[in-house]
Each structure stands twice: as structure tokens, then as C-alpha cells.
Amino acid sequence: MSAEIIKDIENKKTELESLLKNAKDLKEVSSLKIEYLKKYVKSLYSELKNASVEEKKSLGKIINDFKNFAEEKIKEAEAKYKQEKSAAKYDVTIFKDSIRLGSMHPLTKLYKKIEKVFVGMGFSVVQGPEIETDKYNFEKLNLPPHHPARDMQDTFYISAPNVLLRSHTSSVQIRTMEKLKPPVQIISPGTVYRVDDIDPQHTPMFYQIEGLVVAEKISFANLKAVLIKFLKEVFGDEVGVRFRPSYYPYTEPSAAVDMSCTKCGGKGCKTCRNTGWITVLGSGMVHPNVLEGVGYDSKKYTGFAFGLGLNRLALAYYNLDEIRKLYENDISLWRQI
């Protein structure tokens, strides 16, 4: 009796193999699975009950072998069908050009990133007029009339010498300090103007972000920490930052802040004029004359201020070559970022 069974098992093996080979889909494989692995194996086990002890042992092994064999073959077949796709209903590589988000201006995009860092540190955002008086743009910033440092900022006038287009947003800081008592922790973002013809590397208008912190016991070490945190959060932890002595009439001590060139990583390239560094910020401890000028007690309060031109930074950030492109509004460029 066992010989017959053994033979039958052998036949079933070949049968199953060829049927699996010709199976058209997963469904057919499933029915073969039921037929051979469940029903047939079950029937074999029931045969086994009738066998002698001797036979049980050898036949049991043969049945087990078959079971393993069938399981393996069915698994293979299933895997094969699972891999195969059904005929595609749609071409998923097609996207409608007409469904898209509008682009934000690159300056806005970068600005928002920067704003987030400062707001996260507790800075408030303040605004002020773009058309300013000499008093707020220069005089209150320790820049009396005819000061040679005024040459650094060639100014547009509405009516000279008193009404002008602000050449920096420091004017907003003065206006804010006149309104608020310390502690003050603000950024003043906005458009500023300096006389410059429009060419690839110059524009008569640009975006500036200035910051100011005035409170008791504010130090240069604080200034360094805040600006390092800002640059690392915007440009990444790997960016190098250094502080160099500089001069601004409204800060003392003053520092220029350099960042390792993001284009070449500090090795030296055209963007950083082979120095490996890009100057990104002007900063310093607020000059006591400025504090006194807005009615703050400079013996009690100290503070730091900083300013950055967003447009130059945007060139490095977006790898853009021409600064004037920022105001040409060619939308095909905006759509890339």
C-alpha cells in the first residue's frame, strides 16, 4: 500500500510543478495551494493512521518532504505573481503643469527662514518708515553732519538735506528705542536704499535685517553667541564663523562677521575672492552716545546691534550670480527653488 502512495506522491510532485508553471494568476496558484497543500496532504495524513509503525516512520518522512516541497514551490509561484503588475491604468509620470503652487520671492523665502531663528530666540519684529529724516537715519546714530563715514552710504534724497530714503534700518531701532523702555530685543527688517546704478552686481535698493538687544549686562560675548547661533541655524552647523574688528559710528566695539564660504566650503573660490570667507554681518556694542540719545542710561544698560544685507546673502544661499536678478522677477528662476 505504501508503495502506491509513494508513487502517487511522486506523481503529484510533477503534476504540481507543471500546474504551477502554467498557472495564469495568483488566484490559480491559490487554488492549487488548497488542492495540494491542504486537501491532498490532509488525505495523506489520514492514510498514515492506517499504516504500521514501521511504515509510519518512513512514510511520515516522505509526506513531510512533499509538504515542504509543495510549500516551497507555491511560495515561489506566489512571489512571482506578486511581483508582476496589473496593466497600468494611468501614466503616473505625468503631472499637470497647471496645478502648482505659486512661488515666493527668494528674498522672502530666505528672510522667513532667518526671521524664524530670531523670533525663536525671543526677538520681536518691528517696522518703520522707509522715507526718513536725517535725524533718525544719521544724527541719532552718532553720525553728525559731514561725518566722513556718511560716505559709506550714498543717500537718495526726497528733499536734501533733511528728508531721505533710509540707507539702513537702524533708523527703526532708534524709533523703537524712543518708544520702548529696556529691555528691548527686536529685529527691524525692511527695504533700504543707497545710490548705485543697476548692473549685475549692484542695485539701488536692497533688503536689510537689523537686530538690537538692549538690557542690563549685555556683552560682546552675548553678541557673538547670538550671531553664531543664527548663522549655524540658517547655513548649517558646519559653517565657520569669525569676528573681525571693524568700524561703525553707532557701535563700539564694532565687529565684522565672516562666515566660511558656502560655495567652496572655505577652500577659496570666486565668490569669496579666494579668501575662504564671506562677510555677512556688521555688528557691535551699541555706542553710549546712541543710547543716551534715545534717553537710555548708558551706565545701566548696554546692548548690541547687528545688520545684514539679505541680497548678498541670497546670492550665496541660492548660488545666484547676479544680484540685479532679484528685482527682475523672472519667474522661471523663482520656480526652481
Binding site: 520681536s124 518708515p129 552675548n222 557673538k224 574688528p245 566695539p253 523663482w334 520656480r335
Partner: protein, 688 residues
Amino acid sequence: MFKFSLNWLRDYFEEKIKYDEIMNKLKLQGFEFGGKKEIDGDIITEIEVKANRPDMLYHMGIAREIKAFDGEKIPEITHEKCTVNSEDFPVKISVNKEVCKRYCALKINGVDLKKATPEYMTKRLNALGINSVNAAVDIGNYVMLDMGQPIHAYDFDKIAGKKLFIDKSEKDSKVTTFIGEEAEVKKGDIVIFDDESIKCVAGIIGTQGAAVTENTKDIILEAAVFDEIPVRLTSRRLKISTPSSFRFERGVNVSSTRDVLLKCAEMITKICGGKIETNIFDFYPEKKEEKSICLSVKKANDLIGEEIDKDLMIKLLEKYDFKCTAQDSDTIKVKIPSYRLDVKLEVDLIEEVARIYGYDNIKPELPTIKTSYTKNEVWDNMDIIREVFTGLGFNETINYSFIPNNTMNVFGIENGDRLYSDLVLQNPIAGAYSLMRPMMTHSLLSSLAYNYSVNNNNLAFFEIGRVYFKDNSFDTGVKETDTLGFIMSGVRIPKGFGQDKDIKYSYYDLLSYLNVIMNRFGQNFELRQNDYKFCEEGSGYDIILSGKVVGFIGELNKSKLSSIQNVKLIKDQIFYGEFYLDTLTEKVKKIKFESKYPSVNRLYNLLQRKDVPAGEIADVIKSSSEIIRNVAVKDIYFDKTFKENEYAVLYEVKYCSKDSTLTAEQIEDIENSFLKKLNEKWGISFKK
């Protein structure tokens, strides 16, 4: 900016200094590299010298900085000549002390100016951009670039009446500078003149009047320090900037004037022969005292944020020629070197301490400040607008705030109109960038047109920026308002994917976008017709919020605006809107209606007169029953069978009750009631 010669600088050092090393030292102390050129075995380097450090505008000053950095002895001006002050000077000189801080002069007799300037000198001068004239002038220039004191030489024989006056000019006059150019001296300019004419525009340039030539025998050599501001003003007005005026404007060390003059005279006699007269003229009415400042160690450390001990602080300062005396445990009395014109206050000394200590050695430390965040609503609203508009597919632009000076004319906006402005710059870079914009229209239209010129078509843009109007209630005389502008033209949804026609931007899109953004802020706005000349007839409307005009919309009149660059490239209709953001505050909306019963939508095709606003009809429908939740216009169409002044409007009405599932009868009752009202009021009929 100052250019220096490496070979020249090397004169100050016994050992050969390395270029890269000195450049690094200068950079660390805040003098940025500005470029270099190699000329004839020398390196000419430009460094950035800020306005506070005129002591770095000459070679000795640079050598001083480098030596101080290295802790070496600082160079000083040395000369052998002993002189005596004398009233008995061969030229009678009178100086107005209001315009001149110091005036030194001496006489050299019997020079031979046919002798050539030594080659090393002309080579260095040329490399630094100064042409050789004759030995006396060249040596004067050389001394200036070496020691910072401008020098001027006069031909003694050409001084009329043997008198020189240093004073403000009493009248306007024309002079010919020694290089042969005309300059107009105005009343009040500081000049040096004799009995006959102006010999020198003080601190700026000499005239031909008493210029030394190769035939000059006796020289009057002048070293003076004029007031900074008048020199600056005259130099700017004449548009003549000389190495001398550049230095006077920034400040010249008044303490070394006489020494430099003597050094210069010595060099002239060595090269050109002659003899220096012992009598020297030295007008120095307010002798500059050696200045001392008390520095508090604690204050310095508090401001820097470090713990630098007193002894180290003294050591650092003395390296840089600041002589220190400890007063008590906290105070150091610091003597300021005469050439450091920038150190005036204690805080200036603190900067010196920080600078010499090294900014990089100061350990960063985040501050802890107890301030509260102040909300800035206009600013926050701009973010909301950006989100909404980019979400709707609009792209953001930023344009210059100044627009062409003929804009009012092109747009047909007249003096007295709400949008009129003549707020122009006095010194624009060009006429096309001179009017401070009173509206965003020109900016957005130009951006749109520019994009058509670079083949970006079918566009919608928005811009958030300011508009400017004269307004004397502001201290600047100008009112600035944050404004949103938006513009669109061309195809909004292109044909394809089963749709057989392009869908272009339409006036109804413009209205709907306005509605979307106003809704976002919970604002109910009204529109009031206003025929702007730059809009197509009948398309211009003012936007009214709480009774105030806050902006306008319209279809731009392309033929009127066709003179604006590239506008002709735009073939489709252009729709535009703008409104002010300062009055926009977000109103919180409440959820008013909830129902567990199903709602029913019904469509009504109403034949109506064109002059009856659909909005009013919708209001009538809506007010006819509280069961009506919403009325929306779904379509407008015209058919040839209609009368000329009629069209059909398709309204969708949504019914829903709080209390029960609606029956057909209930709805029919309501619709009969509003259809009747509409018919009575406007003769509107229901087209089945």
C-alpha cells in the same frame, strides 16, 4: 582705502618681513584686504581703512600697527634740525584760528629743482598713483604718504607782498589749479592768498599762482592742519579729491605737524641742496594736550563678557603705545598716543582692549533677557496673504519702490486724484527710477510684461510693498502704507486632459480672488464704481472697507499703457487689484449652523436684466427663509433669443433645516415666495 608699497613698508623693518604674515596681522586687526598688484619688484596692496583710522593712511602708521601687534618698538619721526619760533619770518603770515588748527612754515634758500627726484621715490609714487612733478613737490607727496602730514611748497619769489593769509574767502572767484584746471572758489571756502591772488585752496589743491617750478630758488614749505568739515565740503563741491584733502577730511595728527615739516625740509636739502632758515613759523593756538582716559577694568570686562585681569589689560594696551598707570584696583589711567584720533571715550579704549585681546578669544555666551514678544499684526497678515496667494498659484514679485517720473501722465492720473503723487527723488539714478510709487500697478504690470519678454506666459503675480503719499501729519512728511497688489493675464487652466478649451483669467476671477482674501480675514467689503483712466471703461471699482476706500480693482487698459516696456507683448486681458494692509485686521468667525438633517441643492436659471446685481438677487433669495443656507452663482450666459440688456444667471440654492428632513412641498413654498418677490421687484422670470 589706502594703497601701500611693500618695499616702502620694509624700510621700517630691519629684517625682511613676509607679505602673507603682515597681511594676516592687518586683517586680524580689522584692515580688510582690498586687492594687490605686483609692479617692478614691489607689491602694491590696497587695504580698507575705515573713517575712524586716519593713522592708517600712511606707511609709518601701517608699520606702527604691525610692530605693535608683534610687541616691538613703535617707529617715531626723527630729524636733526633745530629751529626757533620766530615772528621775524620772511613772509608775514596771518592765520584765522577758526579754520586752521596749526600752521607751520619754513623757508629753504637756494634749492636746485632741476635735480631729479631719486628714482626709488618716483617709482614708489607712480606705483601708488601719484605723478612726478618736480623734486620739491614729489618729496612733499612722499612725506605725506610716509608720515600722513600733507605738505605744500610755494615759490617764495611769487608771493606778492611777502604776505600770506589763511582765512575764509571773502568772495567767489575762479582759480586755475596747478595742473591747469579751472575751479570755482566760493565765498567761505578756506584759501591761502597773498596780496594779489589765491595761492592754494586749503588742504585740497594749489593754484598756479605760487607753484614751485624747476626755476624756483627759495621755497616756503607749509605743513598745516585745517578744519575737517570745510575741507570736506569744498572738496565735494569742487569734485576735487586729492590725497591731501582725503587725509584732512579724516583728520591729521596736529601734534606731529612741525616734526614732519622739518623732516621734509631735511629731505629736500639733502636732495636739492639749499639751506633751511633757522626761523620757523608755527601757529598753534590751542596746543593739543596729551590726552588720558580712565579705564575701569570691571566695565571693560562687563562689556566684553570676559575676565581679563588688570595686568593683562595693561600689557595689551602698552603693546599698542597706550601708556598705562594703575590708579587703583579697578582703574587704569591710559595715555592716548597723539596719532590715535579715534580714541576719545572709555568705550573706545574698551574696543582697543577687545581688539588686541582678539575677538576670537572671547567666549560666546547666549544672553538671558526677559522681554515679551510684541505682536505685529500687519506683518503677520502679510504671511497669511503670501500663503493664500501662493496657494492660489500666484507668484511673488519685488520691484523697486521708484517708478518712472512720467507714470502719472501715462496712467492719466491728475493732480487732485486719490492716486496722484509727485513725490520724486532729488537725485534718482535715472528718470525711470524717480517717483516713489503711489500704487503698485506700474510695478506689477512691468514684471508681467518683462516675463512675457522672456517667454514666461500666462501668469498671476502678487507683491507686498509700500506706496507713498505726501502727508504732513507724519514727521517725514510722507505717509507710507503696506499694500498688496495682484495681477493676472492669459490662460488660467490650459486645454487638454479632456478639456477642449483654454480657460482664461476673467474679470470674475479677479473678483473671486479679492473675495477669497477678504474672506480669509473675515472682512465684508463693498465695491464702488470709479472710472480710472488706466482701466477699461466700466471695469474700475474702488474697494471699500468700513466706509473707507482701501484699494481698487479693474481690467487694465492696455492701449493706454502700451508705452510701458513690453506691455505690447501681452495679448490677453490684464486684471489687476490692490488694497492697503494697514486697516486689515482678522475678524474671528463663529460657526453658526449645525444640523443633523440632510441638505438639498436646487438650481434656478433666472432671466434677468444685466444691471441688477446678482449679489442683490442672492440676498433676496437668502433672506426669504432661514432654511436657505447658501446661494451661489454657478454660471452666466447669453443667448441670441434674449433681449440685449438681459442674460441668464444660474443660482444654486442650498436648503437645510435644523428641525427635520425637508419635504418637496416645504422647498416649493420657499422658492415660490422668493421667485414671486424677484418677479415683483425686478421682473425676473424663472427659466425652466
